[in-house]
């Protein structure tokens, strides 16, 4: 009886876990990104599209500047780059972060003209 109960619990746990994983939308969706650097807090609007371990999408920097996202997803870890056009040579900005539910905790980094600091994002 005890073994039966344990089995049910284990199966329920496994099924529940799988169900939870399937229900996770990954990083796909609309996000608000916040960069905190020596220049203050900068807010961008992001649209991420996850396809397997590939990450695409767009980030709207305001001022009519919308840039493409090119990156990867490994488990809960994200890496992506946006390239800011510039007359002295395009400036790539690299981001790394960890997805937890509806938030992304970004790693410290150097974000070109937007400064050096860290970033985070919340699902909209």
């Amino acid at each position: 009886m005890i073994w039966k109960l344990v089995s049910v619990v284990v199966v329920a746990t496994v099924v529940g876990g799988v169900s939870f994983a399937v229900a996770q939308p990954g990083v796909t969706g609309e996000w608000e990104m916040r960069l905190s650097t020596q220049t203050g807090v900068t807010t961008w609007q992001a649209t991420f599209e996850q396809d397997g371990d590939s990450l695409a999408g767009e980030i709207d920097l305001g001022d009519n500047e919308i840039l493409s996202v090119d990156g990867t997803v490994e488990g809960s870890m994200l890496k992506f780059v946006i390239v800011v056009p510039d007359l002295d040579g395009d400036q790539p900005i690299n981001f790394e972060g960890e997805l937890t539910g509806d938030t992304i905790k970004g790693a410290d980094g150097s974000f070109s003209w937007y400064g050096t600091g860290h970033w985070e994002a919340s699902r909209k």
Binding site: T37, Q38, T39, G40, G62, D63, N64, I66, V81, V83, P85, D86, L87, D88, G89, D90, Q91, P92, N94, G109, S110, F111, S112, W113, Y114, G115, T116
Partner: protein, 726 residues
């Protein structure tokens, strides 16, 4: 009458004596060194004699070219002890010999023992001509699962444009430190070495991004194959030695800055009046470490002043990253560059003040620039952000003054109008200006500035009116309502006022294939602003004739007749554009800018062709160009000059013949210049009273011959009547 006759005879006799003396080896004037260069082959004509010294306040180098019979004369040397030696194509460098002004010095040149020995001093473009981009037939790219070429590259020209405007934007390719891999033993292959070297240092993230634009693996393979061929003994074709006027060139060089300073541009005078600042200091902007570099060529003293900001510099991020994907081979993980101000381009006004495009704050604009402001320009086209503003240094007060601009700034040029209007490129979606007369009169930086978006009169009614068609993300209009005008984002890089119409300013765009745009400000901007746009004829235009296909406009200047000149950095042409040849300037057919191919004339620059390019593309790179409107060099008025940024040279064109005069800098190799200007110090002094100035603008100073420890150089080019003129 008799006295007059005697006087004339005396003058004639003196002239004859002077001519005889000047042509006789063994009789150097007190401040010259002269002699003859010979080798096992006999007299060596068209080779350089180089005199260098470190006994002045800053290192000084003067070079001349041998003429008939191998004779040379280095004129006007400051008192010092010099090391004098010979460099030339077909030779190896001779040993240096000590000499002093007044000496006559016959030099023995050494003939190269092999093509490989000779090639060591060939300019970078000759080495770079051996690189092999994918053949035209391989385009369009089919991506990593196909031919490895990025799928957005439809034509070979677009690939080469990345080689030029991606990589050569910052430094020469083909010089020794790039073409050879000194630390190859640390890697499994040359491909792995290239993969690593493009990630090194504070520009590593930029370099590695450029590599990825090719289709990363395919791009790396191209560079690795090139280095492998060179390591295997491949040698480029031999450049021609200087001939004709090229042998009359005298180049003086002073070191300034430090071994880590990237001095982007210089200025010696007011472009509108080259007599301004006669015999005065020349100025340069140290973009990587926020300084105004100053060289006094009379005292040979180089100095520098810190650029100011209005806010704490620690709160302003610079252009150059504060991180690196991989440590530098030379500086490890040390952050050698710190550039909150990031001063980019200097220009001098009629008062001798040095104006610069330089950041003074963060990107977020003051409220008066934004929507909701009562500023009429902000109401017409609000600006949320701007990168760099205007700063000037006044030598008379020795003070900097900062002027905040809503629009970003990059290059700057004064108009020939009564307000001394200063126009700026780099405004992103707008062209901005500062009425410097109003600024001087009032000190009101808000009232003195203005800007306009670039909007084409595509409905052809002669004015620009709202609403207009908005641009798509690539800078071109997506959906054009022919009843409306059309806003375009040209991407302003170069800028120049029009001497024929002082309400007009031109800009150039460096986005493939390149464009020019003309903004006519009118009497009541911003409402009276109207823009025209002219695309460089290219492979994107099926109607473009083959002899007019080019790409990669960057620099921009204009002659006294209003003809534009832009060096096509990608295809290696100097191109002119004559608006008077255009049948149409506005209307619905002008939206792509392909309505005036007749206005364009392309002149291929000299130098070797990159292997496998069709149509042929030369291996040089032209960061900028300039028109010698006032004959400051001595080749005539309105001579267009391109920077030979990958060939250690300035390239002067005679448009009537299509012939080039190559002003080659023989030493130190790595003369990657980003601009030039000319000054007349004394109009009565012949060639000695005038000259053109340019600086080494290599981003990585340690790429210059000599390696780490070498400092950037500031150069003066002069053209004398013959190779022995004193």
């Amino acid at each position: 009458m008799r006295n007059r006759l005697i006087g004339l005879c005396s003058v004639a006799l003196l002239v004859c004596v002077a001519l005889v003396l000047s042509s006789m080896p063994g009789r150097a004037a007190a401040d010259d060194i002269n002699g003859v260069v010979t080798s096992a082959n006999g007299a060596e004509e068209g080779v350089w004699v180089i005199a260098e010294t470190t006994s002045l306040p800053t290192k000084f180098v003067k070079s001349v070219v041998t003429g008939d019979g191998g004779r040379y004369l280095i004129p006007d040397l400051p008192e010092a002890t010099y090391q004098v030696w010979v460099r030339g194509y077909g030779l190896v460098d001779s040993a240096a010999v000590d000499a002093q002004p007044g000496d006559t010095l016959d030099l023995r040149a050494i003939v190269a023992g092999s093509p490989a020995e000779a090639a060591k001093v060939f300019p970078a473009n000759y080495w770079y001509s051996m690189i092999e981009p994918p053949a035209p037939s391989e385009f369009p790219g089919t991506g990593p699962e196909g031919n490895g070429i990025a799928t957005n590259l439809q034509h070979q020209d677009q690939w080469v444009d990345i080689q030029k405007q991606g990589c050569m934007l910052c430094h020469q390719l083909g010089n020794r430190i790039v073409r050879e891999i000194d630390n190859l033993e640390q890697f499994d292959s040359s491909l792995a070495a290239w993969d690593h070297r493009v990630q090194m240092g504070q520009r590593g993230s930029q370099m590695t991004n450029v590599m990825s634009r090719f289709g990363r693996a395919r791009g790396l393979q191209m560079f690795a194959d090139w280095s492998d061929r060179i390591a295997g003994g491949a040698v480029p074709p031999t450049p021609p030695r200087p001939k004709g006027i090229e042998r009359n060139v005298v180049i003086s060089m002073w070191e300034w800055g430090t071994e880590i300073d990237y001095i982007h541009d210089e200025i010696a005078t007011d472009k509108r009046n080259p007599r301004i600042n006669a015999n005065g200091p020349v100025y340069g902007v140290n973009i990587s470490n926020d300084e105004l570099a100053i060289l006094d060529p009379r005292t040979h003293v180089a100095s520098a002043l810190d650029m100011p900001l209005r806010v704490d510099p620690a709160t302003v991020p610079g252009m150059i990253a504060r991180s690196m994907p991989a440590p530098s081979r030379f500086f490890g993980d040390e952050l050698i560059w710190n550039d909150p101000a990031n001063p980019h381009n200097p220009m001098m006004d009629q008062k001798g003040r040095v104006w610069m495009t330089s950041a003074i704050r963060n990107r977020a604009n003051p409220e008066y620039c934004k929507a909701g402001s009562d500023n009429r320009f902000a109401q017409y086209f609000p600006l949320e952000n701007g990168f760099r503003s205007a700063v000037y240094y006044d030598p008379s007060s020795e003070e900097f003054v900062m002027v905040d601009t809503c629009f970003g700034t990059h290059h700057l040029q004064f108009a020939e109008d009564e307000n001394d209007t200063l126009y700026f490129s780099g405004g992103g979606q707008v062209i901005g200006w500062l009425d410097t007369k109003m600024w001087d009169d009032t000190g009101d930086e808000v009232a003195a500035q203005g800007w306009c978006p670039t909007v084409l009169d595509t409905n052809g009614d002669g004015v620009v009116t709202k609403p207009w068609n908005e641009p798509a993300r690539d800078g071109q209009s997506a959906v054009v309502d022919t009843e409306l005008d059309t806003r375009v984002v040209v991407g302003s890089y170069g800028v120049i006022g029009d001497p024929i119409d002082n309400q007009a300013v031109w800009i150039s765009s460096n986005r493939f294939p390149g464009r020019l745009a003309r903004l006519h400000v009118g009497d009541n901007p911003p409402e009276t602003c109207v823009t025209e746009m002219y695309e460089v004829p290219s492979v994107l235009d099926p109607a473009a004739p083959t002899d007019k296909i080019g790409f990669g406009s960057r620099g921009l200047d204009i002659d006294r007749d209003g003809v534009l000149w832009t060096a096509l950095s990608g295809s290696s042409h100097l191109a002119s554009f004559d608006r008077t040849k255009c049948a149409v300037h506005n209307g619905p057919d002008t939206v792509e800018g392909r309505h005036c191919v007749d206005g364009w004339t392309l002149y291929p620059t000299p130098g070797p062709v990159i292997a496998g390019t069709d149509p042929p593309i030369r291996a040089d790179y032209h960061y900028y160009n300039w028109v010698d409107q006032w004959n400051t060099l001595g080749l005539g008025e309105d001579v267009p000059i391109a920077t030979g940024s990958n060939s250690d040279s300035l390239l002067a064109l005679d448009p009537s013949t299509g012939e080039w005069t190559v002003l080659r800098v023989p030493y130190p190799q790595g003369f990657f210049t980003r601009g030039l200007d000319g000054r007349i110090d004394d109009p009565e002094a012949g060639w000695k009273g005038r000259g053109v100035w340019a600086t080494y603008g290599e981003a990585a100073t340690w790429h210059i011959e000599g390696g780490r420890g070498v400092r950037p150089g500031m150069l003066k080019f002069q053209v004398r009547p013959d190779p022995l003129a004193e």
